[in-house]
């Protein structure tokens, strides 16, 4: 499994797409972080008048890290789209299928390979707030738990991207399909529905509704379970797909 994960991880460093994504992401992080700081300085006077004014950490996590998590809905599918689809197309998946490795090792290896890369990108996002250490007190616990939240969303997005990549030979189809699913999951609870039961059910299903606790520094088992369950579901479906590949004629459509 480690061999497969290492290859997947290294392959991303050899691909121009991954470097471009990393670069754009970095520009975005820097710009967004600076504008968040700017905002904080502007409204600092007004905040000081409140009974419990939010500290710089809370302000930064909500205004800076939370929007970053939404970016993962597009970035993860772009990074995972080649994982299976490209291997089907190049015929290299045969190498994995004929090697004495289990299908679960293939699926988990590929997942962790890409996930490690996404985690690395997210750590870069965290470096920006960390530079505040020099000028003010930073709440490390909140910041790290926010990173955990981002990693949870990343796991969900990566596993969904993997599933769609394993379903098709076309990388772009995989990316678009998984992005669409993730965006729908993200916004599903935000629209008013006449029945309160359905509204509540959709709200529970929505990814965005489970992130708040992470950014507030709260440990909510309900939200953790949500991410673990959905990620496992997508990984499980990918395993079923890979198990059944032998039945299909041309390895994916």
């Amino acid at each position: 499994m480690l061999t497969i994960a290492a290859r997947e991880f290294n392959a991303l460093f050899r691909s121009p797409l991954a470097w471009i994504i990393a670069a754009i992401l970095q520009i975005f992080f820097a710009w967004y972080f600076l504008s968040t700081l700017e905002q904080y300085i502007l409204i600092q006077d007004k905040l000081a008048l409140q009974d419990h004014p939010p500290g710089i950490t809370a302000f930064v996590t909500f205004r800076y890290l939370a929007p970053c998590s939404a970016l993962l809905l597009i970035i993860c599918p772009l990074l995972t789209m080649r994982s299976y689809a490209d291997e089907y197309r190049q015929g290299t998946f045969t190498l994995l299928r004929t090697a004495p490795v289990s299908n679960s090792a293939i699926v988990m290896g590929k997942f962790f390979g890409v996930y490690a890369f996404v985690a690395l990108l997210l750590c870069l996002a965290l470096l920006m707030p960390l530079c505040l250490v020099y000028i003010t007190n930073v709440d490390f616990a909140t910041l790290l738990w926010s990173l955990a939240g981002l990693l949870a969303v990343a796991a969900l997005c990566t596993s969904a991207g993997m599933l769609f990549s394993s379903l098709t030979r076309h990388t772009l189809v995989a990316a678009i399909a998984s992005s669409t699913l993730l965006i729908i999951l993200w916004v599903i609870g935000k629209h008013a529905v006449s029945s309160p039961v359905i509204q509540q059910a959709l709200g529970t299903l929505a990814t965005s509704s489970h992130l708040g606790s992470f950014f507030q520094g709260l440990v909510s088992s309900r939200d953790i379970v949500y991410f673990v369950l959905l990620t496992s579901l997508f990984i499980g479906l990918t395993m079923i797909r890979v198990n059944n590949l032998g039945w299909q004629g041309s390895q994916g459509r």
């Binding site: 061999t3 190049q90 299928r97 090697a99 004495p100 299908n103 032998g246 039945w247 004629g249």
Partner: protein, 360 residues
């Protein structure tokens, strides 16, 4: 010798089309099996099923005593003894040759020193030493093909499956490839598919002809020249008759071949006497040598037989007359098919095809 690979009654359907029908094979250590067939005959499908890439609808594949399509553990054990080169070599274009072979070795469970040695041996066997640091994308087709083969044998598996290993190779590389296969065959069991009949004759100990997803012929080939009867091609001036030739020393059978030559079945070690007798008769000899095309003729006649049978099935109402014609054609004086009777064969070069089936 132990049986390393055995496939029983492999069948696979895709939609309502049967692309492999009751394919059975078995192979012992030291044997080389050549899969022959036209394009789309089902060679690659069969190899894919033998390699575990495709799951057969029914039937079993056993490699070194483990069921390939059985439970996950058994299947993994079976794959430990398997090396496979698919039709398109499974190469990661962005990797270097060296790194790629390291990856393949690790997938096969090789580590450390064992991996280094295995990689070195594979690079030497496939003459890739000078290419180690090159990126695969920049390799020529021949080198890519060789790297594909290196990948299949890096862990020295008992069973090696090669799907058209010589495609894209130049003539010298083809000869090297044959030598490599013959060398590997001493300790492994090898199955390979090919269009090149000369290649099959050169390296195979067994051939298996597949047509329309069915095995229509299996035969052991002898690579040694110690047979009691050998078939020779002779070209003579002076128009001798078959009867005259049959009376020459050592000749057991004489038949006409392509463009006026004769195919003679001659008893071993009597060739020089035969040649002397021919020269004594005053006939001028322009060609005298072993009959190289025996396999080609066998193959073409088998495949054409398959087509005739299909046509029979399709034109069921005329079955009786058609069959009669076919039989008449089969028994024509020279023992050749006469294509003029069979419209479907009109475009083939069937008139001069000899029938050389095992059962008359």
């Amino acid at each position: 010798m132990e049986t390393l690979l055995s496939a029983e009654l492999l069948t696979r359907w895709e939609g309502d089309r049967c692309i492999a029908h009751d394919v059975s094979l078995s192979l012992r250590r030291g044997e080389v099996l050549g899969l022959l067939g036209l394009n789309g005959a089902g060679k690659s499908t069969t190899l894919n099923m033998l390699a575990g890439v495709l799951t057969p609808g029914s039937g079993t594949v056993t490699i070194a005593g483990h069921a390939l399509h059985g439970n996950a553990g058994e299947s993994r054990k079976a794959r430990r003894h398997l090396g496979y080169l698919p039709e398109t070599p499974p190469l990661y274009m962005d990797m270097k040759v060296d790194a790629y072979l390291n990856y393949c070795g690790r997938l096969q469970g090789l580590r450390g020193k064992a991996l280094k040695q295995a990689k070195q041996a594979a690079l030497e066997d496939c003459q890739l030493l000078s290419m180690q640091k090159r990126i695969i994308r920049n390799l020529s087709k021949g080198y890519r093909q060789r790297l594909g083969i290196a990948q299949a044998l890096i862990h020295r598996p008992d069973v090696i499956l090669l799907d058209e290993p010589s495609s894209g190779l130049d003539p010298q590389q083809m000869i090297d490839m044959r030598e490599l296969i013959i060398r590997l065959a001493q300790h492994h069991a090898i199955v390979f598919s090919t269009h090149l009949l000369s290649e099959a004759t050169a390296v195979c100990s067994k051939i298996c002809v597949i047509h329309e997803g069915r095995v229509i012929h299996q035969q052991e080939l002898s690579r040694h020249s110690d047979e009691t009867i050998t078939s020779s091609t002779v070209r003579l001036s002076g128009n001798p008759t078959a009867h005259e030739l049959m009376n020459l020393p050592g000749v057991i059978n004489a038949s006409t071949g392509i463009d006026g030559c004769w195919h003679l079945d001659v008893q071993a070690k009597l060739h020089h006497q035969l040649l002397a007798a021919i020269l004594e008769k005053g006939w001028l000899v322009t060609e005298f040598g072993p009959r190289k095309q025996a396999l080609e003729e066998l193959f073409t006649s088998l495949v054409n037989d398959g087509r005739v049978e299909q046509n029979l099935e399709r034109s069921a109402p005329r079955e009786q007359t058609f069959t009669d014609q076919t039989i008449a054609a089969g028994h024509s004086s020279s023992g050749c098919y006469d294509s003029s009777d069979i419209t479907s064969l009109a475009n083939e070069d069937a008139p001069t095809l000899m029938l050389e089936r095992e059962s008359p």
